[in-house]
Symmetry: D2
Subunit: 254 residues, 4 copies
């Protein structure tokens, strides 16, 4: 039976591409996303065409029980989850405090912080019993510092980073590898950056900074590092690392 | 008219003592806490006996509209809020992931993260219009790193720290001083440490580490620094600082 | 006998002004700087005119034995050093790696890192014997992150920050308060910023950002916080804090 | 012609093992260390027996011109240096301030900080001209915080971390990948840990925590991650990551 890689937030950026990468290496990838059934089916079909195996599910991560039931269903129907890729973001663009509604602020937390807590609550006991498992959490610059306009995003990601550390503190010694992967720059992803910028500006950005310029983070390259982290031997685990395009200013410089 | 210092979380530890300190310096302190009306009344009476002025309110910070209405009522009935001391904690002791319920996790966020967001949403527009104001946020080690058993607390405080930074980024240049004050050690406070340890162990700890040993953080000494931060000239503001007893190991050492 | 405050790096900016502030509060300030005997004498005369007491010494901090002999002479001739303000900087402006000579790089370390180690080696045993003392270290943004062109400065200040932590770890519990004070912005100081910019640009900057705009850090305001830190009770010590003008972007934002 | 991997500090721990790993992947590894010519020859012979290619040099990194001449000689005689592994440590065990001589403190800086500056000064212009290159810097917990007894080590490593950031800031956009790799725990290495503990205690530690317990960091596993970092595509580079055994407490917890 193939080991299972469960991706929460499997859009056409980091999530889907990481799922594809694990499938190439012999995992069965379970791809979960909120919308775009067609995109999801295409992703599964792509993986299968390349000889891999995958399943796709639509799932609303802020609704009660969805994440928990998904974990249970995968364990019952597909197999033990060896790797979780938690890839839900909560970026809503820059908004002043006045423009940040209570609902937006709470939604950021529900997606990015509470969502991870729920998945971890469901999956950690199973991994603990098996004595192994990996939880790879996609993070953002906002986990490291709160920039102007990032009230909701920074609060959600900052909470999530600390949660990754407390999960690591409890479950690392039990054989569960928790990694907090800081994506510190713009990702060449139609589902997130593309939607935020609109098709024209996204096309222009790709032509001037992305593509052969390598100035946008390429999901396929990120996926190499996710896979590497998941394969690290337990005598040499990474908990936190950053990833950015070579031309990008790290978050600590200005 | 006296300037107003609004304390959210005014127990018999840092919150109440800081309120007392500002009252000594000519502020009218508005003390808000969830329970213990007698304690609250005693605190107000203490302040008045020393020639200061204060008001006390019971307030449940996780209920809708309570914080917002409190801010509005103070502005309408007492005077413009010059200083907010946000002193709500969310420490529930060490609990494994299994022992940390969804309710506990959410309550941590509602108190420590969303609570600050709500207060800031209510008070920042007023301070912005006046071109000045100060928000002092009591923080804890869990804002800096997630220790074992601290899932709820660390996620809440880590989110809060990033929120303090994004508030500072938006409102600093508008004259509002936001400070994140890291209490990195045990505080000699009956309402928090005392309740967590129980009366006997608290008494013993005070006798062996606290009192003349100065190994427990004394609220009255903390209050000196809160007051200093609130008086800093806007050409030299502190956003973050730590406070600990001289015998305590800083969070970064072990 | 007055307590002694020894200032290493007492130019017409933070160092001299902090010395003046401590003298106002009853300390005898010992002001040491490398050059400008006239400026030094003026500073001492200023302090004395205000009713304070001070001494001035020219001292080359990178030469062997100078710092050690100064500490010994002050202890022998003036009195026990209660507070050290270590204010030597090593900013040489932005220089590419190619433009940063070995000599520059080493000089940065000799001034900013080794200088503090030497002073601490001389003064800590004395303070330890007395069971108390304070070492206030002026630091810079470069201690927190290495920006482009800051090879020498960042390496020196980053090393110094870690040294402050190891000094605190050893000597905090022995009653010696070590504080690392991050000056995160431009200081309105003729001896440093003024010299770096030249008189015209400095004048212009003061008129557009400084003075009543409060956008340059004012040494006199910084001195208030240095003095506060030195007076903190040992049950509530600060080890690290930042200071910046309200309009300045903190180092973590961009 | 094979690409060259130059290892500064190639003992029988991380340095030598990383050199071996790169040789397995088709690099010519140039192994430099201060002493133990026999060990060095054995390492080269090992690599050659496995079909790889390597050269060994004895080199005193604190003497003038040694590092610079080594870089020049490799470029002239062997080939362009594609990867530098800077693996010089400066750990001298825990020593109080009193026990830390000026010579020790300076030696730490000469090895760990100035050594990297010298190598970077020699190799960056060459890499810049070629538009690519990788500098992997082995770091230690002391780069992140100064523990008791770590005055020399922490000051040296803290300075080095900032230098890595300023090198990255200048040379990242020019195609040179600088990575700061935090080894946050004990490494199963006879040349460093073994010498510090002595043969008996080292043997005991290996039997109780190392070997099949995976509680000591294994150099061969670390080498996998070094190699991965060096192969990252420039659209997704890591600047900083940590490595520790799964049972080890991260530096931020206690």
């Amino acid at each position: 039976m193939k080991p299972v890689c469960l991706v929460i937030g499997a859009g056409a950026g980091i999530g889907g591409t990481v799922g594809k990468r694990f499938a190439q290496e012999g995992y069965h990838s379970v791809l979960c996303r909120r919308t775009d059934e067609n995109g999801l089916n295409r992703l599964v079909a792509d993986i299968e065409r390349d000889g891999g195996s995958a399943s796709g599910f639509l799932l609303n991560a802020v609704k009660p029980d969805t994440l928990e039931e998904q974990v249970a269903a995968v364990e019952a129907d597909i197999g033990p989850i060896e790797v979780v890729v938690f890839n839900l973001g909560a970026q809503v663009g820059n908004r002043s405090l006045k423009e940040t509604t209570y609902k937006t602020f709470e939604m950021g937390w529900r997606m990015a912080t509470f969502g991870l807590f729920r998945v971890a609550s469901a999956v950690c006991p199973l991994m603990e019993e098996r004595g192994s498992g990996t939880i790879l959490v996609t993070s953002a610059t906002a986990a490291m510092r709160g920039n102007k306009g990032q009230h909701s995003h920074a609060a959600a990601m900052g909470g999530r980073r600390m949660l990754c550390q407390s999960l690591n503190a409890e479950f690392g010694p039990k054989g569960i590898h928790v990694a907090h992967i800081l994506i510190d720059g713009s990702v060449d992803a139609p589902d997130t950056l593309g939607k935020m910028l609109g098709p024209e500006r996204f096309k222009e950005l790709r032509e001037t900074r992305g593509m052969e310029h390598d100035g946008l983070i390429m999901p396929a390259k990120v996926a190499e590092t996710y896979f590497h982290i998941a394969q690290q031997h337990r005598s040499a685990w990474t908990h936190e690392l950053d990833l950015r395009a070579f031309t990008d200013l790290p978050w600590w410089n200005h």
